[in-house]
Symmetry: C2
Subunit: 466 residues, 2 copies
């Protein structure tokens, strides 16, 4: 089935539909197949597209007929201004990391790896199996498929040292992607109007989730070795916050990794304050120089609430993540998840579990590590050569991104716009800062572009800085 030929048939039929009165019968599928020299699936796909666009309707046993196209009149929604008020208003644009761009542009702005780094064969095979499975039509429990809960628990337990009680499967809540997990965790553990600590810089999606949950963001400065434990303790004490949101492993956008000692000291500060650490282990499957060691595996008193998503490493189509929490915190998170989502599609859970339990998944992850290392090194070398004005202050130890510092007199928005005009999209570093940025940065996702494009990307950035 060719996408192109079905698109061509749609275009031809749209012209024809515009020229005939509503209610006209379309040529039969057979006539269309002959006229366009296309297979039955292609013609069927074209007819579906026209039906979805509201241009034709199918009357079973009779045929397919054109529909009237109405001209909309202008309507005044002014009354809504009063009804909506200003309280829920968000200014500004949506997440730029989700923008789609033309193929001709080198896209390094997104938060996702390119298709070549996804386990496409495994995902397709898993979907094919799940499609045939007996339980396809069923409804999974609110907390998730038991086997998937077990898998998330086992992954954490595997890193748990002796003397620490490992999490159990019932501590896992399967959620529809990490974004909703962040909103749920912020709402359940802090609550509207309350403060939460975040690193600065931090993940933009977490700030969006914080606004959504109505919590107040309090920034703590971070660096290549993570935040200072004293600063964390001081901020928790001063603000009364009981939640610290962090990405200790390959932070987005910097690729920084908290060293083991530092991580334990921060965890001690959180414990001493009677607080929660929400550990967003977003890049667990994107290690380069070091194996991820979740803090959650070294806590059994319920201080660490752990979030691990499979969306980016398995496939955007499988929006599944695990949220691990113990004690009353787990009960609150489960109740909040139930009220918000009821349950997560069973097939997405089945597919995610299938992919990550295949032996080939480990092979795939090793290949991803090699690919990421190669792309990262290519980009860093190219930046030194072609964009000497820019600097990567600490080599990312994992993750998808290089956090590139521009000269202090650069205007980031202008640099981003000049790159875009020359065929390169990068992320404006300001989006990762909760308040005024500590420097001028852009984020470049080396996992989103082709390796062969990375040299050209560095040239474009270099030119934009001149």
């Amino acid at each position: 089935m060719s996408d192109d030929s079905s698109t061509r048939i749609v275009a031809d039929l749209r012209r024809w539909i515009a020229s005939v009165p509503p209610g006209t019968r379309l040529p039969s599928s057979r006539e269309l197949r002959q006229r366009h020299r296309a297979g039955p699936a292609t013609v069927q796909k074209a007819l579906h597209a026209l039906a979805a666009q509201g241009l034709v309707e199918s009357r079973p046993g009779v045929g397919t007929f054109t529909l009237a196209i109405r001209t909309p009149r202008t309507v005044d929604f002014g009354w809504q201004t009063t009804a909506l008020g200003t309280a829920g208003f968000r200014d500004g644009h949506g997440p730029t990391s989700l923008e789609t761009i033309p193929n001709s542009v080198i896209g390094m702005h997104s938060g996702y790896p390119c298709r070549e780094l996804l386990p496409e064969k495994l995902v397709r095979a898993a979907f094919a199996r799940a499609t045939r499975a007996e339980n396809l039509m069923g409804r999974p429990p609110v907390a998730g498929l038991p086997d998937l809960q077990s898998w998330f628990a086992t992954e954490l337990a595997g890193a748990t040292p002796d003397g620490v009680a490992p999490v159990s499967p019932s501590d896992v809540v399967v959620i529809p992607g990490s974004q909703s997990g962040l909103v749920t965790a912020f709402r359940a553990l802090a609550g509207a109007g309350r403060p939460i600590l975040v690193e600065s810089p931090t993940y933009w999606g977490a700030m969006l989730a914080a606004r959504q949950a109505g919590v107040q963001v309090v920034p703590v400065p971070s660096g290549p070795a993570g935040p200072s434990p004293e600063a964390v303790a001081e901020s928790l004490g001063r603000t009364g916050a009981r939640v610290f949101y962090a990405q200790p492993t390959f932070a987005n956008a910097t690729g920084w990794l908290w060293p083991r000692d530092r991580a334990d000291a921060v965890l001690d500060a959180v414990r001493a304050a009677g607080a929660f650490l929400i550990e967003d282990d977003w890049a667990h499957d994107f290690a380069i120089d070091a194996a991820p060691q979740p803090l959650a595996s070294r806590d059994d008193a319920g201080h660490v609430v752990y979030l691990r998503s499979l969306t980016k490493s398995v496939a955007p189509a499988t929006r599944v993540a695990g949220l691990v929490a113990r004690g009353p915190a787990r009960d609150r998170i489960l109740a909040d998840h139930g009220a918000e989502a009821l349950y997560v599609s069973g097939i997405l859970q089945t597919v995610a579990l299938d992919v990550v339990t295949q032996p080939a998944w480990r092979t795939h992850l090793r290949r991803v590590t090699e690919q990421l290392r190669g792309r990262r090194d290519l980009l860093l070398e190219a930046l030194v050569r072609h964009a000497p004005q820019a600097r990567v202050e600490a080599v990312p130890r994992g993750g998808l991104n290089a956090w590139v510092r521009l000269p202090d007199d650069a205007v980031v928005a202008d640099v981003v716009a000049r790159c875009r005009a020359d065929g390169l999209t990068v992320g404006d570093g300001g989006e990762w800062f909760p308040a005024e940025p500590a420097g001028r940065y852009v984020r470049m996702n080396y996992a989103a572009a082709e390796p062969s494009q990375l040299g050209r990307a560095a040239e474009i950035l270099g030119a934009a800085l001149r």
Copy 2:
């Protein structure tokens, strides 16, 4: 591949694993196949299950090995009591409609139709097609797949009378199920702390969503002909609410349908108050005696915000719904959806669209209507015969449920428990009332049970009432 034999292999191997030291190599797949007289897929499935349970690990090229099973120690989560406080606490149980029950029980408590009423062939075929599709690995736009937006818009436009501007595809936001749509709509249109009007009785999921969004629920009495327009106008005026949530078509749990004149008068009251009507068209695909005529099709000034879910009629696995709004309300809903979910799995959108655009979908819906009519009539007749103490005050015109009134001296919880003990689950009517119930009711989902079970169900209820 047999589920039973793979379960048997898992049970056997669990016993064996408990008897050997950690790190022991499992017999090879071939040995297991011979020992259990099972096919390779069955053995593979058993090994996956053991891996997911953390009992074994596979080392590619070497074999599968047993893992140590740790004994968890008891941990004290008392510190969380202080950290969490009481503000986010929810008392009571989760939604009883989502409970799973043994096969031996006649299950009429759930909110879903039984598997025989789902278009299983269409869903399996659509998943199979989507699994092979080129775009499986892609990420859809935040507002949804354009073709699915078009389909939702076209469905509404089909019912739109002349002189009313039909909605356009860009007015549609595709969301991950109607529960999250309710939370989004309540939060975006009313906002925390503000009142919203609901019918009494109303859908329990809407009250759960209201609590989640932090809005205050104000009940308006409803009946077989819907709420009185004067009562709606008075409540909007008195409370200052700018949102009225309702199910005008085959309400859950009553099956009531607002007559056309009444619906228009209520819409006028909402318009006059400068308010929104959130129309939850949950049972659009479950008509029995009348074709659904959404109020949203008769409003083009942005007063009606329309919610249509495909979860219950297509499959629980496809958690996809459309939220239709115009003007600034649409912008707010889209921003809220983006912050909460980022986007909905592309494959679920593709599958839902595929199913509802097949010619066989119409045939399926006609069959569902006949099935629902047959089951409803069977249940109502059986209740008259076997449970004369109970009364259905108005025959449900559509939907899945009979709303059964018990004698005024009945204690509903006791009746529900006695039915349960005798092998029948029904919903406690109190869950559909925002405050004190106006009468003693149970909800019986005639679409969830087998037609052959409906007589026995009525007998059990009759006995429980004696």
